[in-house]
Amino acid sequence: MQDAAHGALAPDAILTVDHLTMRFGGLTAVDDVSFSVRDRSITSIIGPNGAGKTTVFNCLTGFYKPTIGRLALRHGGAVHLLERMEGFRICKEARVARTFQNIRLFGAMTVLENLMVAQHNRLMVASGFSLLGLFGAASFRAAERAAIDKARFWLDRVGLTDRADWEAGNLPYGDQRRLEIARAMCTDPALLCLDEPAAGLNPRESASLNDLLRTIRDSHGIAVLLIEHDMSVVMEISDHIIVLDYGRKIASGSPENVRNDPAVIRAYLGEEEALPPEIAADLEGGR
């Protein structure tokens, strides 16, 4: 089953993308791409620069309204059509979280506060839209404590506990990347979308990133959708890989299949072109 990626064929899919097309004027950034993400799996989207990977993410998280296509997310017996949802509902109701290639933390807030903002919705309900919070109601304090516990759990996981009170903007680069993942996890996602989480990490850091992503998949049962250029990450942890080139899906399958797919090799390394005969003759003669 080479193309298990196609929606209808994958019954345990949490995300099904059908015929996604995104045009900007005359430019087609994503062209009729279909794939699905299975529950409790790590799916990677790879491809050369400009292949449309981030555009797919932007469609999933409400930055762009797709020109054509259906983005269906299923969990808890409900189907959420992401292309029709407003920005904040994608996180609140469909439970999709994402991180960015260029990190977008709240730089002037502390590490802990960044994680608390991600738990905003639960806290708002518990605190009676903060009115009860003003009067120090018990339900508010209990919810606040629970939120701090959750934040602490993820800080432990990403190794930032001793920096909880730092301003996020002052953290070193690698820490900021991990904090962004922790913050996304604090929203309680069903699907976690990571845009180049290994960019700029050293080999040791990207190895620990691999461990973190495996934990998220295995212990928390969360589906991860990953854009990544670092093949040491992609090939090692992906259950399924989708390859885009010029906005089209050119291959998909297990890491092993994709690695040996001639279309993929062509996209990355270019076509082997035959030299014009006279030049070939010159080269031969010169030798």
Binding site: T61, G62, F63, G87, F88, I90, C91, K92, A97, R98, R104, F106, G107, A108, M109, E113, M116, V117, A118, Q119, H120, N121, L123, M124, S127, F129, S130, G133, L134, F140, E144, R183, T187
Partner: protein, 305 residues
């Protein structure tokens, strides 16, 4: 010396009122980067609601002063907040995402509209309010017989303002609403990706700013005893000056700026000339904008290259 202390008390009272208004400017600027020029009018509406509510309470016979003040405050805060919410909803939200100038012009239009609306609905004549709180506490007396005193009303204004500021700071720093407001301030789009309802957060910011302006309106009505439909303009511009002086976008800055503007006005009137007190305030606006555009407590915006 006695004269100085008396002016200090007067200046603090005035400063407290400016600070309450300035918070509305600074919070709205912080979250959506626009100057809400209709905010002065929101304050003016708060003042009118105070007159209406006091009159109404007089008619139904609620004359116990502490209860009357609390009821009037609640009524004024509620209705003024509704005005603040409505202004945002119809004049600013539809323009979000358009050019920066569009909501600014819309705000000026809203300001003119509200002024004229109150002028037509309430008449152009000044509205008097008989003194509600009378009496004062003498503090010290000079050899020449000049008595320094703080009136009960001044005491109420200062204490109420301090209380509101503390509560407000707590709200912004410690509750989840405040956290999401600060998050929206830094990155609206990212906040919405974390599930924060950005539109509602912005609406609540307007509601909170308007409620504080209403308190200022009620207090000024009781303090001066007369209001008209035009008081919002000058008070609004002065509170805006206070917000800029403290550093626009900074909450403690707005409080500090408000106090400083109040003190400067009081001392300028006392030692130089009453006629030029507004000039003194606005000279400060110009000087701050030229030499320290980030204000006293504002953060400079660092553009990363």
């Amino acid at each position: 010396m006695e004269y100085f202390v008396q002016q200090l008390i007067n200046g603090l009272t005035l400063g407290a009122i400016y600070a309450l208004i300035a918070i509305g400017y600074t919070m709205v600027y912080g979250i959506i980067g626009m100057i809400n020029f209709a905010h002065g009018e929101i304050y003016m509406i708060g003042a009118f609601l105070a007159v209406i509510a006091f009159t109404g309470l007089g008619i139904i016979g609620l004359t116990w002063v502490p209860a009357a003040i609390i009821v009037v405050l609640l009524i004024a805060m509620f209705f003024t907040a509704a005005y603040g919410w409505t202004v945002e909803r119809i004049a600013y939200r539809p323009l979000r995402g358009s050019h920066r100038l569009a909501p600014l012009i819309s705000a000026i239009g809203m300001s003119i509209f509200l002024q004229n609306y109150v002028q037509i609905a309430q008449g152009a004549k000044i509205k008097p309010l008989p003194p509600v709180v009378q009496g004062n506490i003498p503090l010290m007396e000079s050899a020449s017989g000049f008595t320094v005193s703080i009136s009960y009303l001044q005491l109420i204004i200062i204490l109420l303002t301090v209380g509101l500021m503390l509560g407000f700071t707590y709200l912004i720093q410690r509750t989840s609403l405040g956290r999401s407001q600060r998050a929206c301030e830094q990155d609206l789009k990212m906040a919405s990706l974390l599930g924060v309802d950005v539109d509602r957060t912005i609406s609540l910011t307007f509601v909170m700013g308007a409620a504080l302006a209403a308190v200022a309106g009620v207090m000024i009505t009781m303090y001066y005893g007369v209001i008209d439909f035009f008081i919002g303009f000058l008070a609004g511009v002065k509170a805006f000056t206070a917000a800029v002086l403290g550093g626009i976008g900074s909450l403690p800055g707005a409080m500090l700026g408000g106090l400083l503007i109040g003190l400067i006005e009081a001392f300028w009137s006392a030692y130089f000339s009453v006629e030029y007190k507004d000039v003194a305030t606005f000279v400060i606006l110009v000087v701050v904008l030229i030499f320290r555009p980030t204000g006293l407590l504002g953060r400079p915006e660092v553009e990363k290259v």
